[in-house]
Symmetry: C2
Subunit: 763 residues, 2 copies
């Protein structure tokens, strides 16, 4: 049938350790950092060409700017930069609302980061600058660290008990907190870049990001509603802040400013309508209609013309001071209180930027160096933070504008920064009459895409419960506990699902498809036959601490008996038979039979060459046959057990120890255990974990289930031949001795060993 | 060669969904709770027999006490109970020091829990009562919630500035905190028991418990050193508390009480020596020498005789009030501050008790119901907490005494509780002169086993880095951050290792062992041959969000080219050829050839049936051949790619989406992709996740790598036959059209889809 015999295969299944290629590869794998050595050697290289290459790696601008095709690209870069600059200004102003700082600081955040990113970044197309979700995350820390209570001030001309909030001092402190956090975010990113851990972003899986995004949109919406309504609310933060804010808003809903509400609603309607047009006719339009810019200009104009501020009490931007604020050393004392949030924000900001950058890199055929990007964004954030700005990432909408208007390199980014500078330096005051509610409405109108993801949850539920749960848990946690804690909870839950997914693996019994070497799940297929006397057990997951108990339970369920129990019952039975023999009620006969004396000689399958009347009787019992003296011992219907490990991708210390014990337990009740389909990696870790000894030898390894079964058949056949010479009855059940441990105390000891750690604990 | 043809196998590899057995099984698996339905039906059953069974499940004493063999067991149970009772008293007194409450409360903790456990527990052998690690964990919360500052009191007869600590009030508060926490621990355990989540204990893997235990021993040691030295120290807790305590001890080392130190050191020496003897001669001794009890009695006697308290200022137990303190409702207001610690303690206490119980259950052949144990311990703890005791678990040493002196059921436990009651009610004052340092020394002398585990770390390092790191991280975190936080950190790290272990799976290219159907890693074996034109790629781990990028990178590395890049280069080349044809410099000829006009007709493998001069030219290029006009396109040397998924145990949404995209990318450059060795579970999840469509069909699934290779060979042969009729040159490379997406924009769109969640985020 099958041309390859077990022996032949066995020698193949041993890895050739001396193979140098394999050794080297192994070393690389163990070290983890695939390119680490190359990088190091790159840094140590002495030739100037090499040094230049390294320098170009660290400061990519040296590489691309020298090759910059001025004739081809400069004009389109400038055009793109101008359009993007307008969007930058506007988004900067708007997103400053999310950070709870005056709008002008949003302009700073749109200006500074691009200056450093120009030198260090590897993406040519993304528009670096503020990004709503990170802004909101910074804003939440800002609100937490500058509570109203800390800035109480006795009100002028009233009794000492009445106090108001010192808004100016609070604002100044908010700016310090925001810029300090930005510096910390930058430091985290630089550190991650230098440690080459950019891959960590992969843990932000799609369902997790989906849930997180929806929660972020929800937070943004709630925080902007009060600005659109222009109702006074207290600042809430942390757990359940959304609920508190909503309660506040409803309590003060009668104080709504109608001018702001109308302007906000109109803005939302217009922006959403035009965005719809932009999407529908994207192939017919040269570039998307810059509706936000138009609305802003119109809004500022109307507000100025009608004097909404004075006449209707509308809340306007009010002051956009000319020029920049001087650089400021961040307040390192604040670092401790914002460590966790800063780290979350650093990760989110980077993840978004890199994901957008990769899309355009794929489109224009260049590569993004994730770790270099981390450094670039980190340095940009430290730089921005020192100039009172807040953290930069990118926004897809802005990047899309930059690319669709012809931006081909970060020269466009620098031009857009120049535009922002012009606004800061000269045109800023034109925007002063703009209502804040218009800015807030623009933000809200852009949330549609983020909320649209909710529709995906239902589909996800049908596809995969685990992934859908990740989405839901992350979303709920982020809404209820805040974005930073929510992200952490989501990540932990996500990690948990990986463990859980492997915790209850399918552990089917396999059967043979007649006439083939194929073994499949007995329950899934009709034409599958069990190999007589053999159980084939497949574990389709890694085996480790979390699922080893389940593995053992499943094994017992598939096999149909508990080997420990069988052994104990047999020991008891042996002791009773012993007693009976001593009392003379039973006797053992030459050809392996114990006979009740009253019944006379009666072949029941005992083997014996003992001397009657002595205690150290040595006889063997055929456990498959009927036992004398009403002894009940669970029947064992198999002689071999094949464990199919082809889908086991790793084993840990706990698992290996337990599997070894299980194998010995089965051997003790006369069931041979074979392991089939082990990967070379698994065999290596079995060796390292001291799996093999004089009882559990490498002979139990087989390349495939079929090989093991063929071997078992051969063995069984050989044994039956041997027995044919002797008694010729049963061949399947034998109590083989010597065995590793044959007495109950040894058994307990073995069990003890398994739980030794726990026992260390229980002193 | 091989008897089974692909077609034949294919139909087998489809699961038979209509199989009712499978359906039912599937339902059971999906629900997760294997025995849930059975349990429910059990509870709903109306017949009195069933109700009785359920009742016996809930209150196991009904089951075993009715069958209690009074003649056989009562005497030995009583003897065992008396000896265990003595140990109980002593350990209770000593462990109260760990909780930082007066010793008598340790006696309460040794008395109350057994009363309820007797009714509810399923273990017959464990001695329920205080356990050092849980005591220490409670103690750490007690110290945190009752800081000295809260109990300041102006000192009598001095100025108002000098204050002392109101020790009485502090002690009273400590007792309240300890008992409240015990109630909370009990509530957690009951809840876990009712939710049937006892399996969670499995996450406490051996390395984790080892590290945690060693850290606990370290904490115990440090906390007892100051009692042995009897130096005054402040109470420290939380992060770095060990360091603070040590600094305090060294600062006050000159105030050491010599009487206490000598008594303590002598106790340590004696107890450790006798314990060593007990271990060495355990088979010769009838029962271990109860050295702790002896030392305590002798110590109390000497102290009373010499009057150590007054003469040498030794710190003694002082007062053991007679009788019990009245029941107290726990202070629920304290719950919030101790949630995390209580949960950790609940888990640790339960884990230890169940692990010990299982050993004796295995020895005496009965089963432990984990969830029932949770309920039993939970109820016991709530009960104990209401009587001012602290949380119960078991201690292996005490259980060993109970079992070795003949305890066969919890009747022995009740007798030991009676002993404790006698001490509380009558004999307690005899222990009043006992030095605290003797009790502390007894605790320290028992730590040896826990510290012995450090030796195991080195061995573990050689066996498995990941497991060793779990040990080290848990240990260090528990030492530095405290036991509760440390346990949490260790658990998270442990979960992390599971993710990391699957993050960089071995992804080898497989080759065929000539003459067999065996495919093995090309790098590990010498006599392995690659199938010409076919790459076989094996992924030996689940594929999901954390490793999908690595999977794609490895695939590209194994295949040797990036299909996206190849396709882009080909598109560019096509456009250029287009232009050349338009300009008349190239022309396409009937039998698939593009010829440069200047060179005349020159067969280079273009297929064409187009009309010259029109834009919608339709021709095919043989990318394997030399291209005209200096066009450089990366060569693709394979025509088929087989993904061996036999070791893939699960796939998530992200992975399936990415794999589908990768397959389409390969198809687009003319490489057929096949998936081999998929488990039925995997196929089911592929279906659920909408993996299959009109391009990626189920036809690409094969039962084994060999089947796929045979199929590929057959296909290649057929195609070469067809081509032999036509041109007869190359058969391997063809740009097959129509393809799912053939233009660059489509490509970007597809890439976009992959990152859609991220893009939702970047609005």
């Amino acid at each position: 049938m099958d041309p390859h015999l077990p022996e032949n295969i066995y020698c193949v299944s041993r890895p050739i350790y001396s193979n140098p290629a394999f050794e080297e590869d192994n070393e690389r794998r163990v070290r983890g950092g695939r390119t680490l050595r190359e990088r190091l050697s790159g840094y140590c290289g002495c030739s100037s060409r090499k040094a230049m290459q390294v320098l170009k790696g660290v400061i990519p601008v040296l590489d691309w700017l020298s090759k910059y095709p001025i004739r081809d690209s400069l004009l389109s870069d400038v055009i793109s930069g101008v359009s993007t600059g307008l969007v930058c200004c506007l988004q900067g102003l708007a997103y400053a609302l999310l950070v709870s700082v005056p709008p002008v600081y949003g302009l700073y955040s749109a200006f500074f980061p691009i200056l450093t990113y120009f030198f260090l970044g590897t993406s040519r197309h993304i528009s670096v600058g503020p990004f709503p979700v990170t802004c909101l995350m910074i804003g939440s820390v800002v609100l937490t660290l500058t509570p109203d209570d800390s800035f109480l001030l006795p009100l002028n001309g009233s009794s000492a008990n009445e106090t108001g909030v010192d808004l100016e001092a609070q604002e100044a402190q908010r700016i310090i907190v925001a810029s300090t956090m930005t510096v910390l975010i930058g430091l985290f990113q630089v550190a991650m870049g230098l440690l080459q851990v950019g891959f960590l972003v992969r843990y932000l899986s799609d369902p997790l990001v989906g849930g997180f995004t929806t929660a972020a949109a929800f937070h943004v919406l709630i925080s902007q509603i009060r600005i659109i309504l222009s109702v006074p609310t207290n600042n809430h933060n942390g757990f359940f802040s959304i609920a508190y804010v909503l309660i506040d808003v409803f309590n003060h809903i009668d104080q709504t400013n109608m001018a702001d509400l109308v302007a906000g609603l109109l803005t939302i309607v217009f922006v959403m309508a035009v965005k719809e047009i932009n999407t529908r006719f994207q192939h017919k339009l040269l570039m998307p209609i810059p509706i936000e810019v138009i609305v802003t200009m119109v809004g500022a104009g109307i507000s100025y013309a009608v004097d909404l501020d004075c006449r209707y009490g509308a809340s306007i931007v009010k002051s956009i001071p000319r020029g920049f604020s001087p650089p400021q050393i961040p307040d390192a004392a604040l670092f401790w209180g914002m460590l966790g949030s800063s780290f979350s924000t650093a990760v989110v900001g980077y993840a978004v930027a890199v994901s957008v950058a990769k899309v355009y890199a794929a489109k224009y055929d260049y590569t993004i160096d994730g770790n270099q990007e981390l450094v670039a964004f980190g340095v940009s954030n430290v730089f921005t933070g020192c100039f009172s700005g807040f953290a930069a990432s990118t926004a897809l909408s802005r990047t899309a504008v930059q690319e669709s208007t012809g931006g081909r390199s970060q020269v466009a980014g620098v031009v857009s920064a120049a535009m922002v500078m012009i606004v800061i330096a000269a045109l800023g005051h034109l925007l002063e009459p703009l209502q804040k509610s218009v800015l807030a409405a623009i933000i809200v109108a852009n949330l549609r895409g983020m909320f649209a993801q909710v529709a995906a949850v239902l589909a996800l539920w049908r596809q995969s419960r685990a992934d859908c749960l990740i989405w839901i848990v992350t979303c709920l946690a982020s809404i209820v506990l805040g974005l930073d804690v929510g992200l952490l909870v989501g990540l932990l839950f996500e990690m948990g699902t990986v463990v859980i997914r492997t915790q209850y693996p399918a552990c089917p019994a396999l059967g043979n498809i007649p006439g083939t070497d194929i073994y499949r799940n007995m329950k899934d297929y009709k034409n599958v036959a069990e190999v007589p006397g053999v159980k084939i057990f497949k574990c389709s997951s890694p085996i480790y601490f979390a699922n080893i108990d389940y593995f053992k339970d499943q094994l017992k369920a598939v096999v149909g008996f508990d080997p420990v129990r069988v052994f104990r019952k047999r020991s008891q039975a042996l002791r009773k038979i012993h007693k009976l023999i001593k009392k003379g009620k039973l006797r053992a006969v030459e050809n392996g039979t114990v006979a009740t004396v009253s019944q006379g000689l009666d072949n029941q399958g005992f083997e014996d060459d003992m001397t009657l009347g002595r205690l150290e009787v040595d006889f063997r019992v055929d456990w498959a046959s009927e036992l004398p003296g009403k002894l009940a011992v669970p029947k064992v219907h198999i002689h071999s057990l094949v464990l199919d490990f082809s889908a086991v991708s790793f084993l840990d210390v706990v698992a290996v120890k337990s599997i070894k014990l299980v194998i010995k337990e089965f051997l003790r009740v006369g069931v041979n255990v074979y392991i089939a389909g082990c990967d070379d990696e698994i065999i290596r870790s079995l060796e390292a974990l001291a799996f093999f000894d004089e009882v559990v030898t490498k002979d139990l390894l087989f390349l495939s289930v079929h090989d093991a079964v063929l071997f078992i058949r051969l063995e069984t056949y050989n044994r039956s031949l041997q027995h044919a010479n002797g008694n010729g009855i049963t061949v399947m059940q034998e109590n083989k001795e010597p065995l590793p441990f044959a007495e109950e105390e040894d058994l307990i000891e073995a069990y003890d060993n398994e739980h030794e750690a726990m026992h260390g604990l229980s002193s």
